[in-house]
């Protein structure tokens, strides 16, 4: 949690945001049927679907006003104004970079990779970056690796946005998997080049790689074959595991 002085400044702006949210909620609520007919049902006000949202929206606005008043009384507006004045351009702190190093892989995994790339490979790529970037615990390395990973994700964004992926899959079913495998390999080589002769980092990379491979290696059979959960995208590696599974069975 932020410290008290910063918190009051943050309260000032968040309470305004929450008030706006409450007003939006009431605006949407007033569009709902109140006392008129909906779907052949004649409404009375107390069975209206708007009743409870009205209660919630009003509550949110009242509480937001309360927080805003408290923030102003305790110098929140002043803190907010000073923080705006002291801001010099876009400066990302180390914590900010660390936050980005969590957000970038998480968002790209959920919104892009999981629905489009083989589950095993998506997780492997995600873990190899996510573990390495924090396990090495070195800020310059974190910045470089985050930049490299963002470029890799940029390539995938281009591939999916242009619709090139569909054309490539038509040509060969596992093209995207091969590209992802290439990205994983590129990421690994990039990390190896960065760590050079440092024995400690070599050991850490071995750990990261082992966990990155073992995790999907355990998860895929557990969810796909034991719990019978169809994975979001089953590509080359999951298909290969299917072949092995039925060969063993």
């Amino acid at each position: 949690m932020l410290d008290k002085s910063k918190l009051r400044g943050a309260d000032f702006i968040t309470s305004i945001g929450l008030m706006a949210f409450g007003i939006w909620m009431l605006f949407q609520t007033f569009k709902m049927p109140m006392k008129d007919t909906y779907g052949g049902v004649i409404n009375v006000w107390y069975v209206s679907p708007a009743l409870f949202p009205l209660f919630i929206g009003t509550g949110i606005i009242l509480l937001a006003i309360n927080i805003l008043i408290h923030a102003i009384k305790t110098g929140g507006f002043q803190v907010f104004k000073e923080s705006l004045q002291s801001r010099k351009g876009l400066h990302v702190t180390e914590k900010g970079y660390r936050f980005l190093a969590i957000l970038v892989p998480l968002v790209s995994l959920v919104y892009m990779n999981l629905p489009r790339i083989d589950f095993f490979l998506s997780i492997l790529l995600f873990l190899l970056f996510f573990i390495t970037v924090f396990y090495f615990d070195d800020f310059p390395f974190l910045k470089k690796l985050l930049a490299f990973y963002s470029i890799e994700m940029g390539i995938l964004v281009l591939l999916f946005l242009t619709g090139l992926d569909t054309a490539l899959i038509k040509a060969f079913r596992y093209t995207i998997d091969i590209i992802t495998l290439g990205l994983i390999l590129a990421l690994y080589i990039f990390i190896r080049l960065q760590i050079k002769e440092q024995e400690e980092w070599h050991r850490k990379l071995r750990h990261a790689l082992t966990i990155s491979v073992l995790t999907p290696l355990f998860l895929v059979p557990i969810f796909r074959f034991f719990l019978r959960v169809p994975l979001p995208k089953e590509g080359g590696i999951v298909d290969l595991m299917f072949i092995l599974y039925y060969a063993i069975r």
Binding site: L7, P33, W45, V47, P49, R98, V110, I131, D137, L219
Partner: protein
């Protein structure tokens, strides 16, 4: 059910667990997993129950419940390992234990400290279980007399009290979090007229927001961000050869144990208030009532016993409103509620009518889980402590993957993940800005109950609010709500402070 039938049900469930090797394996496996989860800083009991909910989804209700309660009990206890060995609490529930546990370990008595926590946690869980058996049927019976008026007020009270107690800053922020949870609960088609509310044109939202992905997102993602962003570090653990149960010390501290267990059960029974608050209140009470408060914080036994008994007794306390009213008493209990709903069990007053032996099944599992925790704690503690060396950077990414696959697997909807990530990020920022997460979760869970019951109540009364003040229980709840709101306002607090100052002067 009479006492004989109740005892028969309890012992038959106990027998069923003891005679089934698979169930015993599940029990010990999940309890040990819970201890590991609790011990590792950054992993919590709620997260453990959340992740295991997915893995036990395909199991029958009985074995699933054994696993979930096993990990819950184990994780609450396991938190003390980090507190004692490295002075970093494994869970928030064990933060108070560090005050006396770590100084004791520094004196070379880590084994004794762990013995005390193991035994105190065991006894705390047993007392909690006893209260589940006694009070759940009584409250269920009373709740059967409730109508929609009382249920609406009860749901609202749950959100308010959870917001009031769990807030780290202004009380309004706790309530705001609860109202935001209520907003999430009303998204989707309304249950009475099927009118789409706040769906923003997304057909996937028409069925409403699923509770379990919200819970995993709200508890899991902020935890991952916090641990990795704020760079949780591991420390060198103190040496421990073996865990010494020290029963003679326990016998000397029976009054402390009873008082702490009662505090734990009482706080656990309040909706949305977790094991951490139970432990702190119990520790504070033990210190304030002690003849030698100066020894607290130097490695005294009473401090360790007070916090560890209370946080484990809180588990039983949290189960009472969960089973009798369908209102979770703590964040892990909220997760457990989600798991029970997935297994087709709807906790609430009707549970006691539809499945009268269910509460005895839960009690038997709690008893066995506490026994498994005790045995595992005594035998495996030195091994589990070695895991404290594992840096969070290695296991947090795996937890992230488990959260994602867990949320997806429950409904086979990728859309659940699309919701889970923003909810997790919002929850993280809420935490940073002093808005507590438990009221949000309680709001999501109780929102539908509040919405349906408010409208049903008004339908019965033809739009009249009068029954809210003419029905005795409704009136009582209304008064409690008003008192909660009024006593939390700054005007009241200022008035109280002025009055106290005036009294001191006179």
């Amino acid at each position: 059910m009479n006492v004989f039938q109740s005892l028969t049900a309890f012992f038959s469930y106990l027998g069923a667990i003891l005679t089934s090797p698979t169930t015993l394996l599940l029990l010990f496996g999940s309890t040990i997993l819970g201890i590991i989860f609790g011990a590792l800083p950054g992993l919590t009991a709620t997260l453990g129950v959340a992740l295991l909910t997915t893995l036990t989804y395909s199991l029958d209700t009985g074995p699933a419940l054994v696993s979930l309660l096993g990990i819950y009990v184990g994780a609450v206890y396991g938190g003390s390992y980090g507190s004692i060995m490295i002075n970093i609490p494994g869970t928030a529930a064990a933060a108070a234990t560090a005050l006396d546990g770590y100084p004791k370990a520094l004196r070379g008595e880590a084994g004794v400290a762990l013995g005390l926590t193991t035994t105190a946690s065991f006894l705390g869980t047993i007392v909690g279980m006893f209260f589940v058996v006694v009070f759940t049927p009584i409250i269920s019976f009373l709740a059967l007399q409730f109508t929609s008026f009382e249920f609406f007020l009860l749901a609202f009270f749950g959100i308010l009290i959870s917001g009031s107690i769990s807030t780290p800053d202004l009380v309004q922020k706790g309530w705001m979090a609860g109202f935001f949870g209520l907003f999430l609960a009303v998204v989707g088609r309304d249950p009475l007229q099927f009118y789409p509310r706040f769906t923003l044109g997304f057909p996937q939202l028409e069925g409403g927001i699923e509770v379990v992905p919200v819970l995993i997102g709200a508890f899991g993602i902020p935890q991952i961000i916090q641990v990795l962003k704020d760079r949780f570090v591991t420390a060198k653990a103190q040496q421990v050869e073996k865990v010494i149960p020290s029963w003679n010390k326990i016998v000397h501290n029976i009054p402390h144990i009873v008082r702490s267990a009662l505090i734990g059960v009482g706080i656990g029974a309040v909706p949305g208030i977790g094991e951490d608050i139970a432990a702190w209140v119990s520790y504070g009470t033990a210190k304030n009532t002690s003849k030698h408060p100066e020894i607290f914080g130097t490695g005294c036994d009473e401090g360790i016993i007070a916090s560890e008994t209370a946080n484990n007794a809180c588990i039983g306390g949290a189960m009472i409103p969960l089973l009798s009213l369908g209102i979770p008493g703590s964040p892990p209990a909220a997760m457990l509620l989600g798991a029970l709903l997935l297994h087709g069990i709807a906790p609430g007053p009707m549970l006691h009518v539809e499945q009268p032996t269910f509460v005895f099944q839960v009690s038997a599992i709690l008893l066995m889980a506490s026994a498994a925790m005790y045995i595992s704690g005594i035998l495996l503690a030195p091994q589990v402590i070695k895991l404290l060396r594992v840096p969070p950077a290695l296991f947090m990414p795996i937890v992230a993957v488990l959260c994602l696959i867990g949320s997806y697997a429950l409904g086979l909807k990728i859309f659940n993940l699309y919701l889970m990530v923003p909810i997790g990020i919002i929850a993280y920022y809420m935490g940073e800005l002093g808005y507590p997460i438990p009221p949000l979760v309680i709001g999501v869970i109780l929102g539908t109950m509040a919405d349906e019951n408010l409208r049903r109540a008004l339908m019965v009364s033809q739009g009249s609010f009068l029954p809210f003040v003419t029905r005795p229980v409704a009136l009582l709840l209304l008064i409690v709500i008003l008192v909660t709101v009024i006593t939390s306002t700054t005007t009241f607090k200022a008035f109280k402070a002025r009055w106290q100052a005036k009294r001191v002067r006179s």
